[in-house]
Symmetry: C2
Subunit: 340 residues, 2 copies
């Protein structure tokens, strides 16, 4: 996640058109907004976004988990990989030659907002982004995990500004078991903070989170038995967990983790308030979002609802690790009502 204030880096400032041979425009920007946070009063906040593709193309907001950010994929203005290169880019289902792709850094992601953040606050920030960019209506909102929760909030609170939602592995409420799991991750950070060691606590928190994102099926295939090393038992997954935890802690302010983790647990939207078309994607092996929760959501949505249930040994992380299945769902959901 880039935190440097790069206000507008457009390689094709004259505005490209869809059949232009040049790469699609990629704008990165930020602006300040006043937002009445649901649990923390009115605040002046900075919103950072990317806006990739022709401004005349149908706009699609793309959002991922709490550790995702505005840089979806490599593009002309920033060749660094994004968090969803598998779906975003030339020839992919979210091709900026076809769609105008909008994305944000989550409110709180830079660690400067140490207050409870409701998913509805993120949806309000996205509405402010649309105002800022002059986008009246989104053709679609594609949200995965926390992004799906925010998408449901957006669909409920700004129905006139969204034609269709794709909500992958995220629902209208946090499940109490998943919330407990996250609360213990936050306690790991707190335990580290007691000794002025934010990093070790955050590493452990991320490792715990990672277990909730993956599945026994995957670990059973990847990892072997434990060994005794210097008088201690070391299990086979520890090298992997160390790598992941350390990489995350290096790029994430502890406050950002704490407040965005909390934000998931604040999710609470009445499905009966959502009347636009919604495609729900559930993963049978997801250990954070039980299938029964997605069924409950599907039953109470008021608009046209499609439910796609995937099987994946990657569980909650299927949106990152099952590119083929996710692309098929996105193609079906986004193409509806759009001339090819």
């Amino acid at each position: 996640m880039s935190l440097a204030p790069v206000s507008c880096i457009d390689p094709t400032p004259a505005g490209p058109c869809l059949d232009d041979a040049r790469p699609p425009a990629a704008r990165r920007g930020e602006f300040d907004l006043d937002l009445a946070l649901r649990h923390a009063g009115r605040r002046r906040l900075r919103l950072r976004y990317e806006d990739v593709g022709d401004v005349r193309a149908p706009a699609v907001l793309v959002a991922g988990g709490i550790s995702a950010h505005r840089h979806l994929a490599a593009h002309a203005a920033d060749a660094a990989p994004g968090w969803w290169d598998a779906q975003v880019g030339a020839g992919r289902v979210l091709d900026p030659a076809r769609w105008r792709l909008l994305s944000i850094d989550w409110l709180g992601a830079d660690g400067s907002l140490d207050a409870p953040i409701d998913p509805a606050d993120q949806a309000a920030a996205i509405a402010a982004l649309l105002d800022h960019l002059g986008v009246g209506v989104l053709h679609g909102f594609v949200g995965s995990s926390y992004g799906a929760m925010v998408g449901l909030q957006f669909a409920a609170n700004f129905p006139a500004r969204l034609d269709r939602l794709v909500a992958i592995s995220g629902t209208h409420r946090a499940h109490p078991y998943a919330s407990a799991w996250r609360a213990l991750q936050r306690r790991a950070v707190a335990l580290g903070a007691l000794q002025c060691d934010d990093v070790d606590g955050l590493v452990l928190a991320r490792q715990l989170a990672l277990l909730s994102y993956r599945t026994p099926e995957e670990f059973g295939e990847r990892f072997g038995p434990a060994r005794v090393v210097e008088g201690r038992v070391r299990v086979a997954a520890e090298d992997y967990l160390d790598h992941c935890g350390n990489a995350y802690a290096q790029r994430t302010p502890p406050v950002a983790f704490l407040r965005l983790s909390e934000s998931i647990d604040l999710q609470d939207v009445d499905p009966a308030r959502i009347a636009i078309p919604v495609t729900l994607v559930a993963v049978e092996q997801d250990r954070l979002v039980p299938l029964a929760e997605v069924y409950a959501l599907a039953q109470h949505l008021r608009g046209e609802t499609r439910l796609r249930v995937l099987r994946s040994r990657y569980g909650h992380d299927a949106f990152l690790k099952e590119p083929g299945a996710i692309a098929a769902v996105l193609a079906e959901a986004l193409d509806a009502g759009v001339p090819a």
Copy 2:
């Protein structure tokens, strides 16, 4: 768990008989043994046990999870509740009027053994107990969770001393995902220890373990949504987790937790070495012991094998929380070959 060295407290020292109206004898004892630990060399260790019921009755060794101990149930010599009063006692399936019930405090449970402890070491200690008590052959070994792992080791290493094994929610090997989960619990203890605060780390470790013992189904029924309390999100299960974690940390030395948690991850016994009759009990919702692992075990045992699959919203803790279903399995498994 009582750690006081009470060597023999038998209310009926003359030796009761099965049709005696007096309560069954209850002996609590301890003795020292030399044991060649698999990963830590030869050690002199103290083994603490209880021995309840007529010495002429068929003997059954009963063992539970790593936090279980020798006091299975209230008896004439100690009216304090045990960890398995649901199954053990007058009129229950493990009635000391019918069986001689043996049980131990796990090696390492008092925190004095700071070395890797293999489940096979526990099985060897149990064999030493049989020698000490003059018991040639156990009618049965009923093990749950870690106790099931130790039972499988006993069946493989001392087949002439055991007629039948009931292994509930424990298998021949630790699953890599469950091992990863436990490794992170041990890291929580290590994180606390960095600041000389063993208790907070152990509390968090226990809370994390508890999530692995239970299920989303149960939490979904028990707990409601999160709340914002003094600027922080507090999830509904936190009061419960606090209660459980604090109670556990008060009664458990951190070294005992660490070494017994490790011990689970060292489990490794070849099912093909087990040729005695085995009843396996699996719980479909168990998040620590995947059903597929129990199937794999059942397929490779060489003796008569029965498999009972339970459904329970209590997951891994079904052996504690589903007394009716467990009692039915025990009755069927233990009565085989015994005149009523």
